[in-house]
């Protein structure tokens, strides 16, 4: 759950006459103050609570600055080149401030561009802890140099980096093609640190002029006249939004830079936004905003900021995929424009017919409130290259415990231990598998995290043991706001260790959240994080056991009475302002929590931590979900592009609340959501406190059966999901992907976000329309085939296919040429399936070929990493032989799982099937269904870890 005060403040106030006191009497403790303040918002976001670019002083200042001749000039005589680093000074001819440009050629076809003040008044913030290491460099060499600029070699593939001096710009070229240009539109703007002038005594047009350092001064006279009003608007040294004043002791510090992408019409990424996969142009509207916020009942299809931020954008065309990683944790806005955006298809055709010389181009501009410019240009060229390039910088998706890929049952709130028990039994009674049951904020004693309500959850270990007996697990919420209460151990320790974030005056920063008045631990402090991690030790976190995991909510951080429901920007984290680190607070919370879970097992067990706020690098610490959505069809639909966008920028473990958090879903919507969620990486049903109960069996036997079937499909495919997560962990490849990732040259795939791929081999088209009788799915791949997983019907690729649907399932296809291992014996939890046999689904390509992988380990420990205790096998079908070969000969892991069945789709009937193993040949029974061309091999029986070959003769 979570979200903002409105949803809860109101009930809190009305406890006496409307809020059901039985399970929520504590809400009454919340202050009437903010309750009344926000009474008015009902359903749907209150946009007035959140800033537009116009209301964000630096964004307004920067955006007022239009493309043109850049005032920046490169001082070529200052060029210094070491082996892998080039430095050069830039000067702004308007104010004579010097900047320092640093260029690095990084291993793996990346370029890093850093721009900082040459001599800032004090250091500017540079984001730590996001990069997994200082990125390894490769030598740079100067190809040529003259008064106009420098040409550097980027190594292979005739790639060059051209530094132009007057005005300053950077171009990355490959052969004669410009891949990407920086400052080509002259929007580099770096507000240098300055001393505050006496604004009372001195009319200083100068300061207004300098407000954006690159500002051309054509309007100088006018500005002097308007100075009084401008000064107010500019908000250089102070800014007020909705009664919250941001004191800005450092004055204006914002930065901006533009990027031009010739030949690019499609850009993706920069989550989190509730918007389409393909980013839209922002001309005439607000830029996409990146500022982690607790947005109450967010709206769809707009660029407003949400709970998390990953400042990474991918650019794609049929020739190349590239990425821009803007490493900055301050409030950031991204403008996108395109020279083809306004054109209709007809207009584009006309251009083509008339031979218009205009090449499509996308221009992007990044604006951040503070810090430095630190950009990583990932040059691809393939999508998988960009993924591994980004992974080499910020790490890959953490490899989750197998059980966390199962189904999660959550609700705000399961009332008490009895309730937990009866829901657990409900799953058994209705024969629906699940792995995790979740407890929201009501489980704790007065929202004091790490504690249990003494009445409702008086025997947590008993409860956890009950779940463990069924091989199931639990997640309890631990939010980062800490109740200010001298009777609360956690608060007292944080206070005594002086670990709280400070307000601008140096006292502990306090704000309102669920428990009432709360402090916010300074998670940017490594000592604080180490202490926090230690709180998860079994002897510290009373009532915890090894099957208890954690959920970090409200870590934007959410501050009910703060500006935009978050922390004041002038709050202090050590010497840095909250302004500098805001977007990475949530990352640190999850980092410290995951570390705690690792430590409690002495480093043996994998953690599982869900977070709502995130930043670049958050993928290393667990799962994310898309926050407080609603039980509406459009919210089901938007879950696809939201998770796809996250997958593109490293976060594979993504999901949306199944059923929708706010409001009550219709039965049809709930069923469709289960069917969709079963094919998304993080599969959790969740519901708001005010909604009616919606455990899967509460909608009549028919719907229970539909939901059971959807969840079972998920469990049967767990071996495939697990293998994909292993791959994501190793390579950075997203688990849930847009089609274009696997079909980069097929332009028809570039905007598709109503269907998606799981790995390369499953294509899923959810049904997201009420009363739908059919969907049109695009099957990519000319010359390829796809098999309907429900009927085994074969379809050709590169076509739009209309598929009639009933309520029973959503269209899912397996790619011809793939092998997917499944465990078709679905049990009540994933752990119960550990030793079960596999069925291999071999879907043949038109050339009668298929390949796949099988990954097996213990499902929960780090032994796969530390001791190489896993099985990784390649499965190949070629020349009428299916072979399992070892991809990791020096690995060791024993499984009792075996191969019980092999289905070969698109096969012809053999006369004989033989299993070759250990030099012996044994015949294998088989059946052939000629109507669907499905060959079933009966019980070949080999151990899943063995080498073997099945020969069709």
């Amino acid at each position: 759950m979570s979200a903002v005060f409105e949803r809860n403040a109101l009930p809190a106030m009305q406890t006496s006459h409307c809020h059901t006191p039985l399970n929520n009497y504590r809400m009454g403790l919340l202050s009437v103050f903010f309750v009344c303040l926000f009474f008015s918002s009902a359903f749907a976001v209150d946009r007035g609570n959140f800033k537009t670019c116009d209301q964000s002083a630096f964004c307004k200042r920067q955006r007022a600055f239009k493309p043109g001749q850049s005032p920046y000039r490169a001082l070529l005589e200052t060029l210094e080149l070491s082996d892998s680093r080039l430095t050069l000074q830039l000067i702004n001819d308007n104010n004579k401030v010097h900047l320092l440009l640093e260029l690095y050629r990084l291993q793996g076809n990346m370029t890093r561009v850093k721009i900082n003040e040459l001599k800032p008044l004090k250091p500017r913030f540079e984001v730590p802890d996001v990069l997994i290491a200082e990125p390894p460099t490769e030598p740079l060499s100067v190809l040529s140099k003259d008064d106009n600029g420098v040409v550097l070699s980027l190594g292979a593939e005739s790639q060059r980096l051209i530094v132009s001096a007057r005005p300053f710009r950077l171009d990355i070229m490959e052969g004669p093609e410009v891949l990407l240009s920086l400052n080509s539109r002259g929007l580099l703007a770096f507000e240098h640190l300055r001393l505050r002038k006496d604004t009372q005594a001195q009319p200083e047009g100068a300061e207004v002029k300098e407000s954006v350092d690159g500002d051309q001064q054509q309007d100088e006279g006018k500005k002097d006249e308007d100075e009084e009003s401008n000064k107010e608007e500019d908000g250089l040294w102070e800014e007020t939004f909705k009664s919250h004043t941001d004191t800005k002791p450092n004055g204006p510090t914002s930065i901006s830079l533009d990027f031009s992408l010739p030949g690019v019409e499609h850009v993706y990424g920069i989550p989190e936004h509730a918007d389409d996969l393909k980013l839209k142009t922002t001309d005439g509207g607000d830029p996409y905003r990146l500022y982690n916020l607790d947005v109450f009942q967010y709206e769809l299809y707009n660029p407003m900021a949400l709970y998390g931020s990953i400042p990474v954008m991918l650019a794609h065309n049929t020739q190349r995929t590239m990425g821009i990683f803007w490493l900055n944790a301050a409030e950031t806005w991204v403008d996108i424009s395109s020279n083809t955006a306004g054109k209709t298809v007809f207009g584009k055709m006309l251009d083509f017919v008339q031979g218009s010389s205009e090449k499509p181009q996308t221009d992007v501009r990044w604006i951040s409130e503070s810090g430095i410019i630190d950009v990583f240009i990932m040059l691809g060229p393939k999508p998988s290259d960009v993924f591994s390039q980004y992974a080499s910088l910020t790490g890959t998706q953490s490899f989750p415990p197998l059980a966390s890929l199962g189904y999660h049952q959550c609700r705000w709130n399961y009332n008490d231990q009895e309730d937990v028990k009866s829901v657990d039994q409900g799953f058994d009674q209705h024969d629906i598998p699940y792995d995790f049951i979740w407890l929201d904020i009501e489980h704790a004693d007065g929202k004091r995290y790490f504690t249990w309500d003494p009445h409702k959850f008086s025997q947590p270990k008993e409860m956890l043991q009950g779940l463990m007996d069924k091989k199931r697990k639990m997640v309890a919420i631990v939010d980062p706001h800490i109740k200010v209460d001298s009777g609360y151990k956690i608060h007292n320790e944080i206070t005594s260790k002086d670990f709280y974030v400070k307000n601008k005056d140096g006292g502990n920063y306090e704000g309102w959240c669920w428990p009432g008045n709360s402090g916010y631990p300074d998670f940017t402090n490594p000592e604080m994080r180490a202490w926090w991690a230690s709180m998860f030790a079994y002897d510290q976190y009373e009532g915890s056991m090894e099957n208890l995991f954690t959920w970090n909510d409200m870590n934007e951080p959410s501050v009910f009475n703060g500006p935009e429901v978050t922390m004041h920007k002038d709050a202090l984290h050590g010497k840095w302002e909250h302004r500098d680190i805001h977007n990475m607070y949530g990352l640190y919370v999850q980092m410290a929590t995951a570390e705690g879970q690792i430590q409690r097992s002495g480093g043996a067990e994998r953690p599982f931590v869900l977070t709502r706020a995130f930043f670049a690098g958050s993928q290393r610490f667990g799962a994310v979900w898309t926050g407080d959505n609603a039980a509406e069809w459009d919210h089901l639909k938007i879950s696809i592009p939201m998770c796809l966008s996250l997958g593109l920028v490293g976060v594979s473990f993504c999901g949306a609340d199944v059923g929708g958090f706010f409001k009550n879903p219709s039965t049809e919507l709930l069923v469709r959501w289960y069917q969709t969620g079963a094919y998304q990486p993080f599969f959790r049903a969740h519901a708001h406190l005010d909604t009616t109960r919606r455990e899967p069996w509460l909608f009549g036997p028919e719907n229970t059966a539909l939901i059971r079937e959807a969840v079972r499909q998920r469990y049967a495919l767990l071996p495939y999901w697990y293998q994909l997560f292993f791959q994501a962990y190793r390579t950075g490849m997203p688990v849930m992907r847009p089609l274009w990732v696997d079909y980069p040259k097929d332009t028809a795939t570039f905007t598709i976000d109503d269907e998606f791929l799981i790995g390369s081999d499953l294509l899923v088209h959810p049904v997201t329309e009420e009363g739908s009788r059919g969907v049109t799915a695009y099957l990519p791949g000319a010359g390829e085939v796809w098999y309907d997983v429900h009927t085994f019907q074969k379809h050709n690729g590169a076509q739009n296919l209309y598929i009639p649907v009933t309520l029973s399932s959503i269209p899912v296809f397996q790619r011809g040429g793939s092998i997917i291992p499944r465990k078709d014996r679905v049990r009540r939890s994933s752990a119960c399936m550990e030793n079960d046999p596999y069925t291999l689904y071999v879907a043949l390509s038109p050339k009668k070929f298929a390949e796949g992988k099988l990954y097996i380990d213990d499902g929960h420990s780090f032994n796969y990493d530390t001791k190489k205790e896993f099985i990784h096998r390649s499965l190949t079908f070629a020349n009428n032989a299916l072979t399992s070969s070892n991809l990791c000969p020096d690995c060791n892991f024993l499984t009792s799982s075996w191969i019980e069945k092999v289905l070969i789709l698109g096969a012809s009937k053999p006369s004989k099937v033989v299993l070759k193993m250990n030099g012996k040949e044994t015949p294998v029974d088989f059946e052939f269904d000629s109507s669907m061309s499905v060959l079933t091999l009966r019980k070949p029986g080999m151990n899943a870890g063995d080498d073997w070959t099945l020969l069709l003769q």
Binding site: C18, L22, K470, R693, N943
Partner: protein, 493 residues
């Protein structure tokens, strides 16, 4: 994998204390044993195909209906039968075979998983017998109580029915009485009305005479006041001293104006003043204080009205109607008595109506097939939890009140019986309670179970604003079966 799969298992069943060995494939109930004959090929129970018998329980699913794998987890839709000797036999989904979790108390579901299961059937059987026995006792006693309740309810119902009949009879009489008294009342009120009107008219005339007297006295007094030189005439100049009489309200009373008031005369005597007086009396300010004037007036009145018995009374009482004369008073008293009698009778009738309506309402409730729930009517039952006092008033409402102060919340008013079709009297539904924020109105379902005592045993809020209350009452106790409940009855033979 071809791990150990025991095709057959020995099953011990207890039948009349004699152990009997019966061979059949693992997981097959006795009732289906005949379909699994080792010597013959096996036909799936849905008839879909026939397979060699060695494929039964070979850990591979051949039959779509799962019937070839009753003892393994191979079929997704299979079911496994545990005999559970000493307890109740049961079917579990075959996905629970060898999943490491003990499901069957006889441990037969975990034969190859390494799970350490203990046979708990005897213990469970014993406990169940105890529970059943206890339940049986409760049911027995409860059922007896229920009979009493039914009897009482029937008696009560009959009583109420006859009471209603009696009351309706009484009501008829009352109706007649009311009508009779209405006539009496109306008859008595007519002369009363006439006498009162006469009295009122006389009083009005008397009041008019008094007013005239007063006016004359004031005129005379005014004349004396105005006649400053006491020459028996009021002259223009004497009148002019009273500026308030100025007809055009310009602040001065001119000679011409004064003369105009005096009808053109230079002076007037007491008799001609009578024609001037009406023109000035409304504006004229007396030269003596008002009190004095009033007192003098009062005295005049006293003199003029010697019949007034209380001359000391202030002038406010002066206009009080004189009491009715004895004849009128007698008529009034008679009419009042008739009215009182009538109203009393009417009130009695209304009360009777209310009583009849209440009893009829009570009789109209569905108190169960044998009226066994009648006794709950107009009763309330409370349960105190750590935070709240819950109150169930059957057929009326459910409420919740904070234990330590605070107002009561209505959790629903009586709606209907809402149990399953075969026995709707197992659940009560109370609806339309206090509304919830962004949610429905509160409602409560009361689940009734057999018990000797009538008591609320628990409350919960399984879903937002939807409460569940558990309530025991003898009224739902079913007639106990004649035979003693015993596990032997359940053990298959």
């Amino acid at each position: 994998m071809t791990c150990l799969h025991l095709l057959l298992t020995l099953v011990f069943a207890v039948s009349l204390g004699t152990p009997v060995e019966i061979q059949r494939p693992r997981g097959v109930p006795l009732t289906k044993k005949q379909f699994y004959e080792e010597s013959k090929p096996f036909t799936c129970l849905d008839g879909s195909r026939t397979i060699p018998f060695d494929r039964v329980n070979d850990d591979y699913c051949d039959c779509k209906d799962g019937s070839d794998e009753p003892g393994t987890a191979a079929c997704p839709n299979g079911s496994f039968h545990c005999t559970n000797a000493g307890y109740r036999p049961m079917f579990i989904p075959s996905s629970r075979i060898n999943d490491g979790i003990c499901d069957c108390c006889d441990t037969t579901d975990e034969y190859n998983s390494g799970a350490k299961c203990e046979n708990t059937c005897k213990e469970l059987g014993r406990k169940e017998r105890e529970v059943l026995q206890k339940m049986a006792e409760i049911t027995k006693e409860g059922f007896l109580l229920k009979q009493q309740l039914i009897e009482e309810a029937k008696k009560g119902q009959q009583e109420k029915q006859s009471k209603v009949t009696d009351m309706q009879e009484n009501k008829k009489q009352l109706d007649e009485k009311v009508e009779a008294l209405r006539t009496v009342k109306e008859t008595a009120e007519q002369p009363e009305k006439e006498a009162k009107e006469r009295h009122l008219k006389a009083w009005e005339e008397q009041k008019a005479a008094i007013r005239l007297e007063k006016d004359k006295a004031k005129m005379a007094e005014t004349f004396l006041e105005l006649d400053d030189n006491e020459d028996g005439f009021v002259s223009v100049s004497e009148l002019q001293s009273h500026a308030e009489l100025d007809p055009d309200a310009d602040g001065t009373l001119t000679e011409i104006e004064a003369q105009g008031l005096m009808g053109g005369a230079e002076q007037v005597d007491t008799s001609t003043f009578e024609s001037v007086w009406p023109k000035i009396k409304d504006k004229y300010h007396s030269e003596v204080s008002r009190e004095e004037a009033d007192i003098s007036l009062c005295l005049c009145v006293v003199q003029a009205q010697p019949t007034i018995k209380t001359p000391e009374k202030t002038h406010e009482d002066e206009e009080a109607m004189p009491p009715y004369d004895a004849d009128t008073q007698a008529l009034i008293d008679a009419a009042q008595k008739a009215r009182d009698d009538f109203e009393e009778a009417e009130k009695a009738l209304r009360e009777m109506d209310d009583q009849i309506r209440n009893i009829e309402k009570e009789l109209s409730f569905d108190f169960g097939p044998d009226a066994e729930f009648t006794y709950l009517y107009s009763q309330c039952y409370e349960l105190t939890t750590s935070e709240y006092i819950y109150r169930l008033c059957p057929f009326n409402r459910v409420s919740q009140k904070p234990k330590y102060g605070g107002s009561e919340t209505n959790l629903g008013t009586w709606g209907s019986w809402s149990g399953p079709e075969n026995n709707k009297y197992l659940l009560m539904k109370y609806e339309q309670g206090t509304g919830c924020w962004q949610g429905p109105n509160r409602s409560t379902t009361v689940k009734l179970t057999c018990g000797k005592e009538t008591v609320v045993t628990s409350t919960s809020e399984p879903s937002r604003c939807e409460y569940l209350m558990e309530f025991t009452t003898p009224a739902v106790c079913q007639e106990p079966a004649n035979i003693d409940p015993s596990p032997h009855d359940h053990v298959e033979l």
